[in-house]
């Protein structure tokens, strides 16, 4: 029996990709639990359209950077410098936005991030510098460049802004709503808002699900649409094209790839620059969509969270998107309603309990014990308090990351040559 279980785990470890059906079941299960907690605690914002919409908005910058990180790490370059590239994205995005309007902000944000990626690629690929060392240096450099350029560009400007922030970006990235589902317009005709109708009722689970779905259908920024499209595109590029195959083989075994004629250095350059470009796009989103202004420290560690989402998502696009959604959600809750964060404790307790039961069923006693302990601790915290201190709410996403990684890393597999320096012509 134990052998059979072990065997099953081995298979799971060898092929940890999730099928679409699993994904839908997982999301539905989480939603069911969330609605139950919502109904029980009365913390309505736990599943409101507003929360999910905010969660999506907060998830997108992390998601862009996370998808970018896939390209870098799939070709074998660890990209800790993503935070710095994101900072460059925010600065250049704001500068472009202020000078030429929001869409140019997007373009220049991408270019700024790509520039950071290029520096990282030169250091790690050409000169063989340790990836983490180079990344740390780029983070420091990115912050310095943004600060210096702000002083030069805006310190004496007459339109506002200064050493730590930009003037306001004029104009917006347009938003869009789907007709019928989200109440969008069709040739100038205001179509009905079906999901909105559901959310206005208080039907258990149905209204909650409607709120969740409507976040994707109503009042969605074009940049968000781009992000949602980029998830399948990334999958298709990496697993269905020649470019993707060569990129991934570079990250798995550069020596073998090179012997088959794959231009290893060029693939690595491509992967890292792409990753920087997407991180820059994430930064530009923060400026153009979330704030309409650049502020120093605006990225606030989101690049690092994107890396956590990358690992959480097992170096795969859908997983990374789920990971960033998790961060977006806990971030959104703290902004929307404090009591909802308190209710979240109960959700975590119940979730941990379910996973503990599953571990019990799988006879993984130790894991079950630890998870049960966590469930009890969160439940105890929930019943003995009325609210979570605001300082704790602030690090909810980070604590979540740490817990998830602590329990999930056993099933994760990173590219085999990830983080290793490769020199052209090297054997093994």
């Amino acid at each position: 029996m134990a052998v059979a279980v072990e065997h099953r785990q081995k298979i799971a470890a060898a092929s940890p990709r999730s099928r679409p059906r699993d994904l839908v079941l997982f999301v539905a299960g989480a939603m069911l639990l969330l609605s139950a907690v919502r109904a029980w605690t009365g913390a309505d914002d736990l599943t409101s359209f507003g929360t999910f919409s905010a969660a999506l908005r907060l998830a997108v910058p992390i998601g862009f950077a996370g998808l970018g990180a896939i390209y870098a790490e799939r070709c074998g370059v660890v990209n800790i410098g993503i935070e710095g590239m994101m900072i460059l994205g925010t600065w250049f995005g704001a500068w472009g936005g202020v000078q030429y309007g929001p869409w140019w902000g997007v373009v220049l944000g991408i270019a700024g991030g790509a520039l950071g990626g290029l520096v990282h690629a030169i250091a790690t690929v050409q000169f063989g510098v340790n990836h983490i060392v180079s990344g740390v240096a780029i983070n420091i450099l990115g912050a310095g460049v943004a600060r210096f350029m702000s002083v030069i560009a805006w310190a004496d400007s007459t339109v506002g802004g200064g050493a730590t922030q930009s003037p306001r970006v004029q104009g917006d990235i347009p938003h869009v709503s789907l007709p019928f589902l989200g109440g969008g317009t069709l040739f100038g005709w205001h179509s009905p808002d079906a999901l909105g109708w559901f959310t206005r009722h208080d039907w258990f689970f149905v209204s909650d699900i409607a709120g969740f779905l409507r976040a994707f259908c109503a009042d969605v920024s074009w940049l968000t649409v781009m992000f949602l499209a980029l998830i399948p595109i990334t999958w298709w590029v990496l697993w269905r094209t020649k470019f993707g195959l060569e990129l991934r083989s570079t990250g798995e075994s550069p020596a073998a790839a090179e012997s088959l004629g794959v231009p290893v250095y060029r693939m690595k350059y491509a992967g890292v620059v792409l990753s920087g470009a997407l991180a820059g796009l994430g930064g530009a989103f923060l400026v153009l969509e979330a704030a309409n202004i650049y502020r120093e420290g605006q990225t606030n560690g989101r690049g690092f969270i994107a890396l956590a989402a990358l690992i959480f998502g097992n170096w795969r696009p859908v997983g990374v998107a789920l990971g960033s959604a998790l961060f977006g959600f806990s971030d959104a809750l703290q902004l929307r309603q404090e009591s909802a964060v308190h209710a979240l404790l109960l959700f975590v307790a119940l979730g941990a309990l379910l996973f503990a039961l599953r571990a019990l069923y799988q006879r993984r006693w130790k894991v079950a014990g630890v998870l049960g302990g966590f469930a009890f601790a969160f439940w105890l915290y929930y019943v003995t308090t009325d609210q979570v201190p605001v300082q704790f709410v602030f690090f909810t996403p980070h604590l979540t990351t740490l817990l998830v990684l602590s329990f999930a890393t056993q099933r994760l597999r990173m590219p085999a040559a990830d983080g290793l320096v490769y020199r052209k012509g090297q054997v093994q």
Binding site: I80, V119, I122, A123, F127, G128, V129, N130, I132, V133, S134, V136, A137, I138, N139, I140, L141, G142, A143, G144, V145, R147, F148, V151, I152, A155, A163, G301, F304, L307, A308, I311, P389, Q391, F392, F394, F395, H398, L399, T401, L402, L405, S406, F407, T409, Q410
Partner: protein, 380 residues
């Protein structure tokens, strides 16, 4: 085959010299492009930075950077990346400040007590990523980054609730209670006086932090620990070749936890120089960022106690001497760019020098073999 020492020394210095020259070049371009004069900027920085009060300030500024670099470097020695120094020292500083204010002890013991609390808190917080790595396989880079934010949140929570001192009317600063005088670290002005440096007239108000001694001791201790003990040997062996270290009986898991704990313990001391020498309490605007700059200093100094001391002083000198620039209408943020460029180019330069050394060593070895071969033929 090793090279002669002048050659090795020259190659060792080549990296930093190239990096500094490159950063001067890049920042000159940036300054010129923004309509400022690089020559004016650098001469101003030099003149201001070499004044006595600036030198004292530079030394004081270099203390936390140096300690932070030591904390990072001990991890680097076995390829462990402790990005979490930032959180470790902040949490340690707030708890040490509160603990120091809560007790009343005779002077030296009081200081020792605060220092030990800081080391303990930093060590415990540093141990967490170590334990997570060996038991759950969580990479320390990610866990320490997450723990930084968590530590910042916990520190802010403690400061706002349990550790908060009652404010006098009109005083809005959130802070811990003051540490009594017995818990202050004396400055070194008397020693400077004995050395014939007249601080009172030449740099009134300047105080050379006494914690400089502790930093130097830590540096010496770092050297002894890493190069003169069994633990240090195991540490370096695990860094260079984990497989070989393991085969020779080093328990990699224990090494990871021990190293992260020591690293965190050292990190706990980063904020203590200013806590005991300047502020005597933890406020909401306690200096931040030493953890990240410390990583830079460790890279610059190649994890060697002497190299890191030079690196810390270089960064501190740049920070201090840049203060003059704003008075001349030159953005002082140029030094942040300089520091970033130095960092990035120094790691590249080290790598290039490393490759050059490899080639030179190969050549030297080949030449020697050839000579020996020729000698053998002659003898035959």
């Amino acid at each position: 085959m090793t090279l002669s020492w002048p050659k090795r020394f020259g190659l060792l210095l080549l990296g930093p010299v190239l990096a500094i020259a490159f950063s001067v070049a890049i920042s000159s371009i940036a300054l010129s492009a923004s309509g400022n004069s690089p020559t004016l900027a650098f001469t101003q920085m030099y003149h201001f930075g070499t004044r006595l009060d600036s030198v004292i300030s530079m030394l004081n500024r270099s203390i936390p950077l140096y300690i932070s670099a030591l904390a990072v470097a001990i991890g680097f020695k076995m390829n462990l990346f402790n990005i979490g120094v930032e959180g470790q020292y902040r949490l340690a500083a707030v708890v040490a400040a509160a603990a120091g204010a809560a007790v009343d002890l005779p002077a030296p013991i009081h200081v020792l007590f605060i220092v030990l609390v800081a080391v303990f808190v930093g060590g415990c917080w540093g141990a967490i990523p170590g334990v997570l790595k060996v038991t759950r396989g969580v990479h320390e880079v990610i866990s320490t980054i997450m723990l930084n934010t968590i530590a910042t949140g916990i520190a802010a929570y403690l400061l706002a609730t349990h550790f908060r001192a009652k404010n006098a009317p009109g005083d809005l600063v959130i802070k811990t209670k003051d540490i009594p005088k017995s818990g202050w670290f004396p400055n070194l002005n008397k020693i400077l006086d004995k050395l014939g440096i007249d601080v009172v007239t030449r740099a009134p108000g300047s105080e050379l932090a006494g914690f400089l001694f502790v930093a130097l001791l830590l540096g010496a201790g770092f050297y002894l620990l890493v190069w003169r003990t069994r633990f240090g040997f195991d540490l370096r062996a695990s860094g260079v070749n984990p497989g070989a270290a393991r085969a020779s009986g080093v328990d990699p898991k224990r090494m990871v936890v021990q190293t992260m704990t020591i690293s965190g313990g050292i990190a706990g001391l980063v904020g203590i120089s200013q806590l005991l020498g300047v502020f005597h309490r933890y406020t909401i605007d306690f200096p931040t960022g030493y953890g990240f700059t410390g990583i830079g200093v460790a890279l610059l100094g190649r994890n060697h106690p002497v190299g890191m001391a030079l690196g810390a002083m270089l960064f501190a000198f740049m920070d201090r001497s840049a203060q003059i620039l704003d008075l001349n209408g030159i953005p002082k943020e140029i030094v942040v760019i300089m520091q970033g460029v130095i960092l990035l180019s120094v790691v590249i330069a080290y790598e290039v020098v490393h490759r050059l050394t490899e080639i030179a060593e190969l050549r030297a070895a080949a030449a020697q073999t050839a000579a020996a071969h020729a000698g053998a033929q002659v003898a035959a």
